[in-house]
Symmetry: C2
Subunit: 330 residues, 2 copies
DNA sequence: GTTCCGCAATACTTCTGACGTATCGTCGGG
DNA sequence: CCCGACGATACGTCAGAAGTATTGCGGAAC
């Protein structure tokens, strides 16, 4: 059975007349009779009653036509859906991210992306940077946002670009001696108990901090750790110690804590966005376009990196490639 | 676009290999390549990535295949649905009936029918006998159950068969003088206020009663009327008068009323089932089979009448006609 | 770097089957 | 009783789907 049979049966049901139905289909009447007869033979039931007053579907015909309409609707829907998917207007984007990225720049990026592609389903999963990289390599994610360059087996198949830079600040309870001070020196932190992200979650930050203080008798040895910024601030508020985190953390203003800059200013490892270099998904390309337009403050690095991977960016999205030229188009 | 294209695309997605997909389809590889290329040209998007490790659907291809699967499922569903509809296993049966038919024999018939054809939707509408006949003629019903032979324009296109007989009984309040008596004479009713079905709802019963009492000073002239049996019994229970109705009415036993036979026994107009003689619906045929098997007590009249209309009964249902022979089957 | 192999694409032929023209059979209406 | 309308049948034609043979390309092995 072919789609043609469905189209012919629907036309016949609509016109209730072989001749007119054939005309509306742009064919002669005998072929229509033949095709309907072939359809009835294949279905095994008479689908139309030919009376002198017109051609009417039987009970079987009515049931058949209902389904036939839906089948043809699915077929035309398949074409439009394919087009939408190719333009990145539908589908899904699975994204892993570290919690601190939610302070910035993710809110703006995600909001704009979801507005420009309302039919793309965003699967967002908060996870540590190494987990994100692993899931990305395993194909369980399409995009990962974390800190530090991806490492490990398979990391060479990833493209990574910076999407945000920030520097280290400290957070203390409002009853802490540092409270009210605009800044605190790195050297002053050596004698404090620190509250930081754990090494297995954020190795880049962790080793960065370790290098700041030098190896011997590091304050990190007596540090408390917390997986997310809210907890770091919470522990600091309890007076457990001095919390260290990115300056975006200031967005989480609370009455019982005090934020102060660390001097000299310490730049943290950049927030990085990674994706598989081989990923040709139009949804990813569309997402990268939004990222590119919204993370300019990081400088031209992002554009640079993305420019080296036109496969994931220009193809399938740029208007220049609007003419779809699959095989055989000459 | 034809169904063939969908089948080929699905086979290719399944085998991820042109050669094996073609083999599974029973064709050679080059035609498969050609058909996939033609499909991609028509959709306007590349649907498969041909890599050295295999053939994989693109994002557009994945979206397309989703819909293609559904389209093909609808097509095969169309065939099975047509078969089911032709065997009367699906569809709907719109039935009008008078309330008293619900006492018997409709419960048994409807129950058995719904059990034997669970996917047939029963549209049941309680209505007076004349309304049922009119709706049947107008094509708004498939079956009507009422009392008396159909009359009026279009009634000659209907087939009517008796499905139940009953006789007149009386119902009175338990405080009424008749209470406790096994029977009451017709002549004793002449001086009572009667509660009966109104003439526009049940003309057959109404005129029948009128003929029982003779024309002059009929007790019907001071009768109360009610459209359904429950109300007739209710009015009788209130002491409004003596309710008259079919003996099936005894099924509605209540503590505050008393039923007694009317002597001599008066046979009411039969319960009749009507349908359009031209109706070839397999659902109707299946329903009539159930009716025939469940209303034997009426005698052979039902079989007689139905036998004269093989169009609606044997065709499409009898196992002898199991071989579907639409046009061209030789 | 070169060769080889697997696979999809291309070239070209074959043949099925969908379509067109002409005609017939049948059923109602005048 | 004839006529007209309509669907079915008969048969020739041609588009296009499939088959065979071959080429082109990319990755892996040597």
């Amino acid at each position: 059975m072919e789609a043609r049979h469905l189209r012919y049966a629907l036309a016949l049901a609509e016109h209730q007349h072989f001749g007119r139905a054939a005309a509306s289909l742009g064919i002669a009447q005998p072929p229509l009779s033949a095709q309907i007869a072939a359809l009835e033979r294949e279905v095994g039931e008479r689908l139309f009653d030919r009376t002198s007053r017109g051609v009417f579907p039987t009970a079987a015909g009515t049931a058949f036509l209902d389904r036939a309409r839906r089948a043809l609707a699915e077929m035309s829907g398949a074409v439009t859906d394919a087009g939408r998917a190719a333009r990145g207007e539908s589908g899904r984007l699975r994204m892993g991210f570290i919690g601190s990225a939610l302070l910035a720049p993710l809110p703006g990026v995600l909001g704009r992306f979801q507005r420009s592609r309302p039919d793309v389903r965003l699967d967002l999963r908060e996870m540590g940077s190494p987990d994100g990289v692993a899931a990305l390599i395993a194909g369980e994610l399409d995009v990962a946002v974390g800190r530090g360059a991806p490492r490990g087996a398979g990391a060479e198949g990833l493209v990574t670009a910076p999407i945000g830079a920030d520097h280290l600040i400290a957070v203390v309870a409002s009853t802490h001696p540092f409270a009210g001070r605009a800044e605190v020196g790195l050297d002053q932190l050596v004698t404090e108990t620190l509250v930081v992200a754990p090494g297995d979650q954020e190795p880049a930050v962790s080793s960065w901090l370790r290098s700041l203080f030098g190896s011997a008798s590091s304050p990190l040895d007596r540090a408390a750790s917390a997986r997310d910024i809210h907890t770091i601030i919470g522990l600091a508020a309890c007076g457990v110690g001095v919390g260290l985190g990115p300056d975006r953390m200031r967005l989480l203003r609370r009455d019982d804590v005090w934020f102060c800059d660390v001097t000299p200013q310490v730049r943290l490892p950049d927030l990085q966005l990674s994706f598989r270099a081989a990923d040709r998904s139009p949804v990813l390309a569309a997402f990268l376009d939004v990222v590119r337009a919204n993370c300019r403050e990081v400088g031209s690095r992002l554009d640079e990196v993305l420019a080296r991977h036109p496969a994931a960016c220009s193809e399938g999205v740029s208007p220049a490639a609007a003419v779809p030229s699959p095989a055989g188009a000459r």
